[in-house]
Amino acid sequence: MILQLGARIALRHLLARKRQSLVSLSGIVLGVAFFLTIAALMQGSEEDFIHRLVDNSPHITVKDEFRVARLQPANQLYPQGAIELRHVKPLTETRGIRGYQQILAGLRTMQALRASPVLADQAIASFAGKDVGITLSGMNPAELTVVTTIQNYIVAGSLDALQADPDGIIVGNTLIDKLSLALGENLAVTAPNGQVHAFKIVGEFHTGRSDYDEVQTFTNMKRAQALFDRANRANSIIVKLDDPYRARLVAAEIESRYGYKSVSWQEAWEDLLSTIIVRDIIMYTVVSAVLVVAAFGIYNVISTVVLEKRRDIAILLSMGFRAGDIRYIFTIQGILLGLAGAGLGIPLGAGFMLGLMQVRLKFIGSSEPVPLPIDWSWPEFAIAAGFAIAAALCAGLLPARKAARLQPVDILRGAQ
């Protein structure tokens, strides 16, 4: 009964000073709306960013190297022994992943995973007297679309042509511009060992990352193996997962199974991901500050009500209301303002979000304007509403406690 009665008294108090209540309410409404909008935009852009990152980079790269240098046989035989080897010259071997075919076959038995070998090395592209250093990646043309997103960035020619023409090469538009090339023309590529091969340009891509568009090229794996003189070798295996967030686990498994260093995308972009966490902390701090400021507005209005209502508080107490009832009445005022603020702020914030979605920006490198990424998932809504109500509750609690401590006699004496 007191719950309902107290809430009714609280509501009357707020309605009795509509203007003041509205001002403090609009503070909370705007706070919630901004909180929501900024959180959604930040979250959206973050997801968009990670999405691109995950899409455009291998989820796991198995490299032709080891995290720890391999032990010499003597050390392997006597792990506890005091062995000192001097002037050991490592075995000369063709660099690359040994038996990559078997590893690949092993990988392909794993679930929800696609893998493809790559033989990539530095080379020099020469045309009309100009030389440009490039990375030539030899890949299986049929698997290019499976483990990379290069298909999405093709602006001329096609990946299929690579399959049809074993001497085909796919290059970025920056390289084309730099060397004044055109689709269908021949490009001489010199390998570090001095071998030269003429490739025919069958495709052009434009990713928007200028260094990538200048340096990266794709060709047939077999052709690359011949050019680099590394028959039957691959120097990395690119792995894509259905669930990219399992990359760390899967990478660890691959590494323990085959020994080769396997780098997940999280490991590769660790510094970037930690930056995102810092960015999140900054964002939530700033938008929370908006709500904290709004909470001061609520504190202010409820404190004023308590001051103005001292006489009414004394009356209620003399009538037989308890101190706890008084505390409840004023706490409820905070909660009511918080609820109303969240109730109005969320639609307003959603409106802002819809408005922002209409904004289309043309980013450097993107071929067409794209809408701002807005995340519509429920946690932001829940956090915004929860924070607003919690802030309003705290803002109401302080004056409410003060109200409950008032001595009716002091007030009555003063009023007589």
Partner: protein
């Protein structure tokens, strides 16, 4: 002698401070049902302080109080509030209605807090109380729309809402013109004599005091052994 509903013994209230002040100093009396008692005395003599102590709004620093035979100083604040709610009705000098609530709602508040009656009965009783004081047409008006006399009658109706045995009034006519004042006095007297309530009124209105069954005079917090209209046999 009818049933004693409120009694106090050597009641004292000291106001702490650098120079402690005795607001109430060793007051002893008892009041029975059906009695109409006036407490008088000069301004600042401690009349109101005594009333607040009797109304359980303040705690004495010495002595004892019984309400309906029950010693109340051992009770905690919430229990005191429960006694105020059910057994005591207050009327103040400035009617002290809640300004956001209509006359009827003001009268209904104590009943809603007590929650002894169901909602429709609360409304019926509220309306009946207002009608009893000739305020049937004023039920939906806000306190700001009522005259001083009407407000004070609403306040009396509110004090009676939970059918308390004890009515305490602090200068109920202090702010009213003589006609309204006479009306309020008549109502309070009627409550005591006809409805068998114990009515205690703090007043410095001589006319009012002269109308009481008994006068308790307080000077400097102490009770003067002054004869009232009836004997002082009720004390002790």
């Amino acid at each position: 002698m009818s049933e004693v509903v409120i009694a106090c013994e050597r009641l004292a209230r000291r106001l702490p401070g650098p120079v402690p002040v005795m607001l109430v100093d060793g007051v002893t009396f008892s009041i029975a049902r059906g009695e109409f008692v006036a407490i008088t005395g000069p301004s600042g003599s401690g009349k109101s302080s005594l009333l607040y102590l009797l109304g359980l709004l303040d705690r004495p620093t010495g002595g004892r109080i019984w309400v309906q035979g029950r010693e109340i100083l051992t009770l905690d604040d919430d229990q005191l509030a429960a006694h105020r709610l059910a057994e005591i009705g207050f009327v103040f000098q400035f009617h002290f209605l809640l300004p956001e609530f209509s006359a009827l709602e003001n009268v209904m508040l104590p009943m809603q807090r007590l929650a002894r009656l169901a909602a429709p009965e609360v409304r019926t009783r509220g309306e009946a109380l207002l009608r009893q004081f000739g305020l049937a047409d004023e039920a939906t008006k806000l306190p700001s729309q009522l005259s001083g006399g009407q407000s004070q009658r609403v306040a009396i109706a509110r004090a009676l809402a939970n059918d308390p045995v004890i009515i305490l009034a602090d200068e109920p006519t202090g702010n009213l013109d003589s006609a309204a004042s006479a009306n309020v006095r008549a109502i309070l007297k009627d409550l005591a004599h006809r409805l068998d309530r114990a009515v205690v009124v703090v007043t410095h209105d001589r006319e009012f005091a002269a109308d009481a069954d008994r006068i308790i005079t307080i000077v400097d917090g102490q009770m003067l052994p002054m004869p009232g209209r009836t004997s002082r046999s009720a004390a002790g």
